[in-house]
Symmetry: C2
């Protein structure tokens, strides 16, 4: 029942109204892995970093049960680097720097030991790289979850469509769902996107929660109302990590299990935004997670007898 | 256990991407009353219209169990008139015309028969008019719910603060909560607003649902994801009407009952936006409402055993 995570492992430099960081560990696969590690260990990682990536950060992942056999280290190159600055509302941000570096030529090699992959999480990457991973797995995983972003809709639409046709679950945000479907209504957008291939669609609405669609049903999970969002970086990836980790742990892909997985993913995301970068995801206890999930239950559950 | 509704009864002219209307019946108290009428009959109305207001529209209210003894008709004056045009996203609108007419000098006279008021719903009006109603009731109602808008924060702040200190529940939208509290975080905004007087605060987030706060607890109700929002006019008032109607019907003001009332209010609002103006609120069946509430249950309920 192995879980395989693909995506960027990188440096981020983040500025929010609350402060700024130097280069810290970031990247979609980092957040996904740390979050999923609370539900499923070990998990396998395929990613690439440069020689500048600290051994201590790789050890951090290993300490969370991440197998790094599939983490390529290109000694003479530099790691992917992103710098961004959030506006006061924390809902919009400017990208200040994007240095692809090792990611520009990333060839996702799957170690033989990872071929037993049952659950595959494709973090945001070029869709061509994502489909290459699927094609290099000799046996199709039980569930393939894919994250993407508007950037690929703009510059790699055909690749994106091809990869979309190969996956089971797509996670994107509301604006991206609208762009991809050319529909403003998220219900209409979901219908169109489900016709592109995925059997399930998760639309992430940030502070407004998340929607899960399949052809027949829809489920909504709120975001936890927070006093302060300190740093939203990685929240979507952390959500995806909790989602796939919960599903892999329960080894069940029913709609009911996906609903619970979305609650757990939302709980993990609510931790992520409380501190800079991955800081809040490092030392969570089972008790803390259970209490946070209880907060979600208290937030939305009601008793109406019809 | 009488329910008293105060607010505007008026003409609206609405333009959306789907079409436009001539002058049709509108106004906060109209939507509130029609919506509440599905839960609590009869209900009492204090409002004012001009001689131009059609008898057929007054009969429409009466047919829904609205007592119109408190509806003043100023034969030689004109009814309040609002015209607005919604943008393509349906989330923003331009006001094209606002003619206060009879509303400019509205003196809310409470008929003696309405003095037994147990539940009072103050629809959006000048805060001074709202507080006048409270002061003219000899016995304080069991629950006073007040709606307001940013306009009064701008031009009648002191009056608004005074009225706020007299009510139990305030309903406002997210932008108004931020303006009133000068806090971006809705959790922080809620704390500040609850310190202004109300024991409960409902923050309406339109397509993103609604939050109910008291000092200790928070509850979230989603909006139903809809294929099409045809006309959002009156959705907030319809929500408030379902909320107060449900509470008056159950004669209980516990947090648990308020949670259910918010789901029923949300269900009523989801009907309201499906057609122009009040059209969808005219002939709903108990079955239709029950099915819609079931949609809300299906949308958010999940089973996690901690």
């Amino acid at each position: 029942m192995s879980l395989l995570v693909i995506g960027s492992v990188a440096f981020d430099a983040i500025e929010t109204p609350f402060g700024k960081t130097d280069k810290i560990i970031g990247g979609a696969a980092t957040y996904i892995s740390l979050s999923a590690s609370y539900y499923k260990k070990p998990l396998n990682l395929v990613a690439v970093v440069g020689g500048d990536f600290p051994k201590s950060d790789i050890m951090l992942l290993q300490q969370h049960g991440v197998d790094t056999l599939g983490l390529q280290i290109k000694e003479n190159e530099k790691s992917f680097f992103w710098a961004g600055k959030y506006h006061n509302d924390m809902n919009s941000r400017d990208t200040l720097v994007t240095e692809l570096n090792v990611l520009g030529t990333f060839d996702p090699v799957i170690p033989e030991a990872y071929q037993d992959c049952k659950y595959l999480m494709l973090g945001n990457l070029a869709p061509k790289v994502q489909s290459t991973v699927i094609n290099r797995l000799r046996k199709r995983p039980k569930l393939i979850v894919m994250d993407t972003m508007n950037f690929w809709m703009d510059i790699a639409y055909d690749d994106l469509m091809e990869t979309l046709s190969m996956v089971d679950v797509l996670t994107i945000n509301d604006e991206e769902a609208r762009q991809l479907s050319k529909e403003y209504s998220l219900v209409k957008a979901a219908k169109k996107i489900l016709a592109m291939g995925p059997k399930y669609l998760i639309i992430k609405k940030g502070e407004h929660g998340a929607l899960l669609f399949n052809q027949e049903k829809v489920f909504f999970a709120p975001a936890l109302p927070l006093e302060e969002v300190f740093d939203p970086t990685g929240a979507g990836d952390t959500f995806a990590g909790g989602f796939i980790g919960y599903i892999a742990n329960h080894d069940d892909i029913s709609f009911e299990t996906m609903k619970n997985a979305i609650i757990y993913g939302s709980a993990m995301a609510s931790f992520c935004v409380e501190k800079f970068g991955t800081e809040r995801l490092i030392n969570l206890s089972e008790n803390q997670i259970a209490r946070r999930v209880q907060d979600f239950i208290d937030l939305v559950q009601f008793e109406i007898k019809l």
